[in-house]
Point group: C2
Chain length 486, copies 2
């Protein structure tokens, strides 16, 4: 097997071949007698991810590991090698790249650190040398100092336990840990990836290349990025603008302070740039800017599950007056409207719930759960059917004493499952008050069921409100003037 | 047993007797043959909390529950009753208050809802009637529409599973759920309570009474409040200012928007007031204002564990470049300084860690954990010993693949335990990247150990930085001019 060539499918963007290697070689695999390292993990990860081609192990010391021969050199491998992953010390990489060139390798991923991010002459010289050989030989490089490529369709991955389910998000991260965190969190919340790249120092392939790719990739509908710095600001702005004009692009730019940018320089040799310039550029390009990984995933979840709302009105329902008030405050602060419910709806809810004591029916709605599953269901159906419910926020709390908790979340869960076809496109569910490990376990189970049913799920009303504000503003900016939305 | 009278200890503030009942009666307990309700839970909770006096059950229907006789009336109880908890329907409360008056009850807690928060004449009239009888008879009331009193020293509680450990925080909440959430979260993080009151509509005893009490209570060192509205703004401001002049006061004021204040009116009959006025008043009174329960507990944790820092410089250390950069950004944004480390310290760390590849030694410090327990320990000791480390933020991530996680958190935990006597007063520990139930369980175990060792623990760098900014500003405001701190 070899790379799928771009000529096979003219619909695919030029860079598509890097996600379709036929064979992989991992450099730095230790023979089992000598212990095990990160390179060995890569071999296991590709196997577990269902990579269909052959995976070769390479190490000058030879030996055997994981039931396979370790080749002493790339050049000893008896067939074409498309993709090489390197976890060898930086000082050995010049030999490796020269072997790659001889072998006709198309893509090299350098997990290896110790290049330009060191900020010294040795590191810079090494990176320049590798790059120069790669360019001559037509080898593309991801990294150095990154985790690699995740593409569930073709069995590529850069960490253990990533889901094999494919999705619609194209994600790039200049930090490996951040790259994995977002994949894990998003997939636990029902959002999956077309491709993700942890691209480290971006010596060769960089954020611009990936944005261009994602823009044209039919499998990618939403683009997200964690960026510490870019080398060519002008190209970046142009590429970002083009991408954002066809697909939503979410960007978390780190290193916006002096200390943060010092960190970015040492981490991935990035020049972080002025935050004023960045903020203005992202806004002008039409990107959605966020300020943490959690905020990034929160917006991904909304873009994935919700449909463009008809307006800014939101109804808030749950069990707990304090939580409802905070949700009303937070939603208003983020630019939504929380309209008061009409008398007819209040009367209807009073009847459904058998009285008013302990409940609030004005929006925010606080439903004391004595109405049980049937009453809760009828109440939420009435509220979601109200013409002013452009959006619906349902909050459920978990760290209550168990008897109250069980009385509470089950009617809500039943209701949300039953009403999913009608309301999931405009509903966010907050699973809140999760303190103990037991509450966490239960809330994750509920989250998983709700995500299966197509719901956007959040861990707090404040996070839901912040994401909703960004989501609404995004749609607002993209809508022609003169609409009800503003 | 009867109430501990204030005359016994002249040091104690006047209201102290409400936390020392000798006997309790719970009104509304159901005979076991008729099922069980909230009143039955109160009986069980007081028992579990170690209340030393007798707990009586009352219900006009009589019968037996939890091995005790249910008295048909308060008046049938054969001894003095100090404290009555009512969970009976609102319409029966006039009879109850009249029985309380006859029986010489000193404190009535009304869990019962259905009073002024309904916003109608019936509810208002009922509340006025109850209050008038209470005033004549010298009965104080907490609630209605609240959960009650938590005082671990005397075995009072308002929810299941509250710790019996006493602490230094006096806490009041106008929402029952919020009241319990803060007690649970804080005590999981090593912060305990002198007294907490979920005070609902505040028909009689209100936030002013409790602030006055906490101000003079020798067991209370920190005061915190969740408030939806106050009835007497002038008195509130005066009392708050006096309390804040002797002890730190943290306030989360909810209902700052139109919809939020509509919720507050329906929830606890509160007039939320203008947020501009509130913000100005809280600032002028010297209170620390927060905007969520999580933020409130975060500041509590710092006030409990840290000593006033020598300055605004913070050193950031952990494993993960991206996380370090975000922490540096967040700390700078919140008014701290993240100074660059001197060359000698960088050289020392390079030697300790056996090289620079994969690490950052400039602050933020990113320690690739190959140095093991001994190296990590030496590195953190060097960093914390640096003269510019006024504050130290240590971040540990949990949702990594298990082999990396174990390699990582153990050396950090060992180090923090060993260095606790020297560094705990200036260190915050962030247990971050907690997604799975398994990671949550482990991080809570680590949190519990760290809290035992006297550390302030946070779930994200952003939350730690926000709380630190507030904590530093609080101390800054209280310091005379002309110091290094500004």
């Amino acid at each position: 097997m070899t790379f799928q060539e771009p000529v096979i499918d003219e619909q695919k963007p030029a860079l598509d071949y890097i996600f379709h290697p036929g064979t992989i070689a991992v450099a730095g695999v230790s023979a089992e007698t000598r212990g095990t390292g990160i390179a060995n993990s890569y071999v296991k990860r590709f196997e577990a991810a269902g990579f269909k081609g052959t995976i070769y192990a390479v190490n000058p010391s030879g030996g055997e590991a994981m039931g396979r021969k370790i080749y002493r050199s790339l050049k000893d491998i008896p067939e074409q090698v498309d993709f090489v992953v390197s976890a060898i010390p930086a000082r050995h990489t010049p030999q490796l790249i020269s072997d790659c060139a001889e072998k006709g390798v198309k893509l090299l991923h350098l997990f290896t650190a110790g290049f330009s991010e060191l900020g010294d002459e040795t590191g810079n010289a090494l990176e320049t040398e590798i790059l120069s050989v790669a360019r001559q030989a037509g080898i593309r490089i991801t990294g150095p100092n990154g985790m690699g490529i995740y593409c569930p369709k073709t069995g590529l991955t850069f960490d253990e336990g990533f889901t094999r389910k494919s999705g619609n998000v194209g994600w790039i991260a200049q930090s490996g840990r951040n790259g994995t965190y977002v994949v894990r969190d998003a997939s636990m919340r029902g959002v999956y990836f077309s491709k993700a790249i942890s691209y480290g120092n971006a010596a060769d392939l960089n954020e611009c290349d990936f944005f261009e790719y994602f823009r044209d990739d039919p499998d990618t509908e939403i683009i997200a990025a964690y960026i510490e710095g870019v080398k060519d600001g002008q190209r970046f702005f142009q590429v970002l603008k083009e991408a954002a004009s066809v697909k939503p692009v979410i960007i978390f730019k780190a290193g916006h302070t002096e200390a943060g940018s010092r960190g970015a320089a040492s981490h991935t040799a990035s020049i972080a740039g002025s935050s004023v310039v960045w903020n203005a550029a992202l806004k002008q390009a039409g990107a959605i800017q966020v300020y943490s990984l959690d905020e990034l995933v929160d917006v991904l979840v909304l873009l994935n599950f919700l449909s463009r709302p008809a307006g800014r009105n939101i109804s808030i329902v749950g069990f707990g007056g304090g939580a409802g008030i905070q949700a009303a405050d937070a939603c208003t602060d983020q630019g939504m409207k929380v309209p008061e419910s009409p008398q007819e709806l209040q009367d209807e809810l009073t009847e459904i719930c058998g009285g008013r004591a302990g409940s609030i029916f004005k929006n925010p709605f606080d439903l004391w759960p004595k109405a049980g599953s049937k009453g809760t269901s009828a109440a939420i159906e009435s509220i979601s059917g109200w013409e002013k419910t452009d959006l619906l926020l349902v909050h459920i709390q978990f760290d209550l004493n168990p008897s109250v908790r069980n009385m509470m979340y089950r009617p809500y869960l039943d209701t949300l499952k039953r009403l999913a076809p009608e309301i999931k496109h405009k509903t966010v569910v907050v699973l809140d008050f999760v303190l103990s490990a037991e509450a966490k376990k239960l809330s994750l189970e509920v989250q998983s069921v709700l995500a299966e049913f197509g719901y956007a799920v959040f861990p707090s009303v404040n996070r839901a409100a912040l994401a909703l504000g960004r989501y609404i503003n995004y749609h607002d900016r993209r809508k022609p003037a003169g609409n009800l939305f503003v």
